[in-house]
């Protein structure tokens, strides 16, 4: 029987916290709910949840990779979820490089989007581009 633990649904606020299988593969310690900061102790071995999530205290050792609140909206921001590894900020601007055009000047989806910018899984401006 597989004891899955990829999604930790917070007992306090019902936020779904996604615990990526890769960093959590052999993790043992505290994580937290991205919305309400409730601490949970979990123990994984080889990708399977051995114990938890148990309500705990103290600091989170590893943050969820992604989270959605009750309404399905993504919970993001510093200290809420773990940023995607290695997508480091530019040392001069403090921001990741955002581009809207390729080297030869044509539209490119290289900038952050919001839910309303999407049609299905595609950026709206790319969809519109292909309509014309």
């Amino acid at each position: 029987m597989i004891n899955q633990g990829l999604v930790l649904t917070c007992a306090k606020c019902s936020t779904k916290n996604f615990l990526d299988p890769y960093p959590f593969w052999n993790f043992s310690g505290n994580t937290k709910c991205a919305s309400c900061d409730a601490i949970y102790a979990v123990k994984f071995a080889k990708g399977q949840l051995l114990s938890g999530p148990t309500a705990g205290s103290g600091k989170a050792d590893l943050l969820p990779g992604y989270a959605e609140d009750k309404s399905g909206a993504g919970v993001t921001g510093e200290g809420k979820i773990r940023p995607a590894p290695q997508s480091r900020p530019d040392p001069f601007t403090g921001q990741q490089k955002q581009v809207t055009k390729s080297l030869r000047g044509k539209p490119l989806s290289g900038s952050r989007l919001k839910k309303e910018d999407l049609v299905g899984s595609r950026a709206r401006f790319i969809v519109d581009l292909h309509k014309t």
Binding site: K46, E68, L108
Partner: protein, 448 residues
Amino acid sequence: MATTPDFETYCQQLFDYKSASGKPEALKGYRVLSCTQYILGPSCASYLAELGAEVIKIEAPRRGEPMRHTTPFNEPLLYPLSRWVPEAGTGLGFFGANPNEEFVSLDFHRPEARQAMLELAAKSDVMVQNYRPGTFDRWGIGYQHFSKVNPRLIYQWLGGFGGWGPGRVRASYDILGQAMGGAFGITGEAADRGGTPAKHTIWLADYWGGMMAAVTILAALYWRDTVSGEGTFIEYSQVHGVTRMLESALPLYGRYGIRRERWGNWDTELSVHGIIQCGKSSYPGSPNPQEAEVGYILVTAHTDEDFKKLCDVIGRKDLAATYAKHDDRVKAENQSILYPALETWAKDKTKEDVATLLDKAGINNQPVWNAKEVSENPHWKMRGATQWIDDPSFGDLHHQGSAFKLSDTPPRIKWAFKPVGADNEKVYGRLLGWSKSKLAKMEEAEVI
């Protein structure tokens, strides 16, 4: 005898990559499930996708596989990562090993997911996965489970160390494979020039391993479709794949007990046949610090005749006389005299200056090119080795073209990749008959 076009015209007409879309695809009709991550497994599936197989990549919901979260330094990402996470992007590390695939999300741990996997396997020809050994068997989706629902399935597992043996349960990476397989014993600087091993930053062991696995899958498909009618379980060890490339190192050791050593950018078997430094930048005055660096060029003049010409070009006829015989030139101590002499000559030249002089003398050479120089070269542009694609998800992308060239069934790059779960509706609806409400329910239940 009927008139035929000359070979160049003939090849150009047959292999023009821009007309590929009007031709059939060699592997169309084969369906491949790809539960792969990083490069080793994904590249295997992507070679099949380039050749026309329908490849369905299955990733963890929301954030997908870890290679999406790697990107060189602070370079731009492609957005969205998924429709659920539009503000995050996929890193450029994901490029090159995932073209032409359909992307669905599934949490393998869930019982409902296992059922979906069994149903997908029943309707597929090939399954590729590169999780740690035994993981998928523990989750009830290994070959032993799939072969019961589809005895014709070809199941390819790739891992670092093989599926059995005491050293199997470790994580492997390309660099680990190169280290353990013996490659770093050979690649890198010679002992008297620092002795440092050098890794191939382009994940050579992963891309090579993916290719080995793809060839094995084609062999298994041939056997199934022409002989046995049965599926096959295939195991590939990344480390073994590196050892397979060691050429003379093992026979040399077996015969004399000698370890083949690192010899840098020179060659142990031919001389002159190596890379030299040229003292000047090809882009003088460029504000781009990357372009201020000096250049390098490969020089190959190992025959007696070419070596004499080379010595004439660099004004060292004395070297031509002293090292007239290849047996003398190839000796380690003599290479240590010849290459510095070449670099002394090239000190006030760019790599292009050196190439021009060597071309004029009929000596084979090649400046060492960077991505910009490869991208702008007309030969490789014409052949489609580098190409711009109008990607339906991400827009204008510069991309490497397929290296396979088939006259009647050419490969093609249709798109670079898609966001996580972009094809959930299409794949689960078409293949498993899931209704809109079932899709919504599975999403709500966190299965997809």
